[in-house]
Symmetry: C2
Subunit: 398 residues, 2 copies
DNA sequence: AGTAATAATTGCTAACGTCAATGAATTCGG
DNA sequence: CCGAATTCATTGACGTTAGCAATTATTACT
């Protein structure tokens, strides 16, 4: 047990104490609800009686409710009474920190975003970041009004090697941080429990509970495409967290073949042709027009401008190969590509799928590939999801 | 529950019924023993009392014994009484099937090999394989004598996509099998429960309990180098089993750079320069001497013959890169290379480490690399380890 | 010898989940 | 329209299990 400098003084919502099995039950209601007790029993292997007993205190405390919709039509027997989580019963805040801004969201129990707040920072020293996060949280809390009373905790995600248990950012190249006790710094000012997490890890948790994994998928991969390229693994029903806090360095697999040198000093990293920054660079170089930004390039590509299309195509090839590598190694059921500009572009999708199919080995080729538009808010929502999960599991939210 | 055609008629050893926590206790005794109760309590988070209660029936039944060595010297207080598993209390058989032979081992509870039996096959049809396995098992059982009465079950491992729960080989390219109900076929003739498993999966289980993972490592990677190249992942305390039964296709990552075409039809697969077959091919081609086999080449390499050294060096480079890819994606604590001819070759090891260090990203570079000689028996031992694990976990051994 | 320290055991208790019986709410057949 | 069949949900008794706290066991140190 670790002593915390600023024990929160505000009373916050608490789940009634629950056994591991009961937590499992609540998790199913949250991620697969509305769901009747029978189905929960079948899925968890518990008896119906156990489910009933687990659910009772949750309903009593107002976290779970009977869903209006009843019954399985045209089936004999007593109709089911589906259970769902009471979305309004608790509130969470998630903040994603980048080098130049802090992005905050407030969510309900179901990770639905209620409000957002972006705030730019001139610098990203720990002190400046703490001030900015504080401002973001303050704005969200103010606008939450009454609902701020249900605020359980605040999740903060950063890229790099994060020690969640101790709330320390061990090493974040993008921020230039090393061993920063971020949780301590924030809790001194926020009066709420703070949970620090790696950004990709948090996003993977969000997908696990509120995205692809919410159904019955027990292994998937997410690939995030932005200025960099990241990768989150969910295998055998667990989010993979490299033993040193680092994993998912998909962007630096040496699978590109253009001979470009990466920021990291090596050649042919996937990022050199597949990140959004790389796409912009490539199109600018090919056209000689340095004024083009991503939006303009997407427009050009949709219009069929050859340089733009070619850049997306090369990027898609690299991503397809990268996913094939991951799939060949780990055999996930689904791979989700979360990209800002690439998701609604047909040529991109086609090339990714084609490349993947050519490179995937045997049964790994059965892996489904989904493309999905990705907003910056999703990162912040991930940070919130991490807090939601710790809340449900009754871990110390930190 | 599935009905089995040949329910074994021989009574075989059974563990006293145990709760999950008690199974955890036994697992620690098996994998980390001799170990005193206090340490088990600390590691599992159970109370000492619970450990005492869990251990009692196991000692009673003769599966666990108090270790002779006592005490922690020079410490006050009552000395510890370490517990160990009674190696002789049970016996297991594991058989690895390749295209041209069946390799069997008999082991005790601690997966120590008691006896081995190899038998070659002219063909590898299911019928022929069943006959050969039967002969291998019969020979082992005969030589086991009295100890055959303690035989719990027989593990059989094959490469490819295996459905262990149903005992079916879904797809094995090397054997040319498709949906073969191997367990059923074998149980008809063996009068003992049979467990079918993927070979790499089984080997990973052996490493988890009786190899690198036996201490307190909770994520590692094994890379097997032979005629092909495989990869087993143990992450977050669980053996990764691709959702389609396939994973670990490390040999076909496109990381070689010699432009060689692989059996699989693609170019630059790691296997094209790093498998033992590839090394032999390369040296034969370079020297023009088609009479050279692996043993001869290893000798040449040790003697410093340039072509041989270069071939090993290229192979080591590819393996180093491949491990870096896996480590960057999953962040294991240890990577074990199990190779038949490469393990005791300094130049190989040096190049692997150097390449890995250059390619590993950030904290992933902390991954330890171990080289280890690998015998064919290890595959069969893996099959036995898979049965040992199912026995301890009180799963239906199939 | 007595004290401190650590390990192991014991009985008591509380928590939890299953079982089996009961109650609840519907469809369907006559 | 009523009862039989069917499925879902609840209840209370029971058994298992693990923690707690007190007790016993065995050593080192003074």
């Amino acid at each position: 047990m670790i002593r915390h400098p600023a024990e929160p003084t505000v009373t916050r919502p608490r789940l009634p104490p629950a056994s591991p099995a009961a937590i499992d039950v609540l998790t199913r209601i949250l991620t697969s609800g509305p769901i009747p007790r029978v189905d929960i029993a079948r899925q968890t292997g518990l008896s119906q009686a156990a489910v009933t007993k687990a659910v009772a205190p949750l309903v009593e405390a107002g976290f779970v409710a009977l869903d209006g919709a009843r019954g399985r039509p045209d089936a004999p027997g007593r109709p089911v009474t589906p259970l769902r989580v009471v979305a309004e019963s608790v509130t969470f805040i998630g903040v994603k920190i980048t080098a130049d801004e802090a992005i905050g969201v407030a969510t309900d129990f179901g990770a639905t975003i209620l409000d957002t707040e972006h705030r730019r920072m001139a610098r990203h020293t720990p002190a400046q970041v703490v001030r900015t996060v504080q401002a973001v949280v303050a704005a969200l809390v103010r606008r939450l009004g009454e609902r701020a009373e249900q605020l359980v905790g605040i999740g903060v995600s950063v890229s790099g090697d994060v020690d969640t248990a101790h709330g320390i950012v061990r090493d974040s190249p993008k921020l230039g941080w090393h061993d920063v006790a971020l949780r301590e710094l924030l809790e001194e000012r926020l009066d709420r429990p703070v949970r620090i997490d790696n950004d990709v890890h948090a996003l993977t948790i969000a997908e696990q509970w509120f995205g692809v994994g919410a159904g019955d998928v027990d292994s998937f991969v997410i690939v995030t495409i932005g200025s960099g390229i990241g990768c989150g693994l969910y295998l055998n029903g667990d989010v993979v967290n490299g033993s040193f806090g680092v994993s998912g360095e998909l962007g630096h697999l040496p699978l590109a073949d253009q001979g470009l040198t990466c920021e990291c000093g090596r050649v042919d990293c996937v990022e050199t042709i597949a990140s959004s920054a790389a796409i912009v660079r490539a199109v600018q170089a090919a056209t000689g027009r340095t004024d083009l930004d991503m939006d303009a390039i997407v427009e050009l590509a949709h219009a069929g401008q050859p340089d733009a299309v070619a850049a997306f195509d090369r990027a898609a090839t690299a991503i397809g190969r990268a996913i094939a590598v991951v799939a060949n190694l780990t055999g996930p059921e689904v791979a989700v590509i979360e990209g800002e500009s690439v998701a609604d572009f047909d040529v991109y999708e086609t090339t990714v799928r084609k490349t993947f199919a050519a490179q995937a080995f045997g049964a790994a080729a059965q892996c489904r590939i989904e493309l999905r538009p990705h907003t910056f808010d999703a990162w912040a929502r991930g940070a919130a999801a991490s807090v939601i999960r710790s809340f449900v599991r009754q871990e110390d939210p930190r």
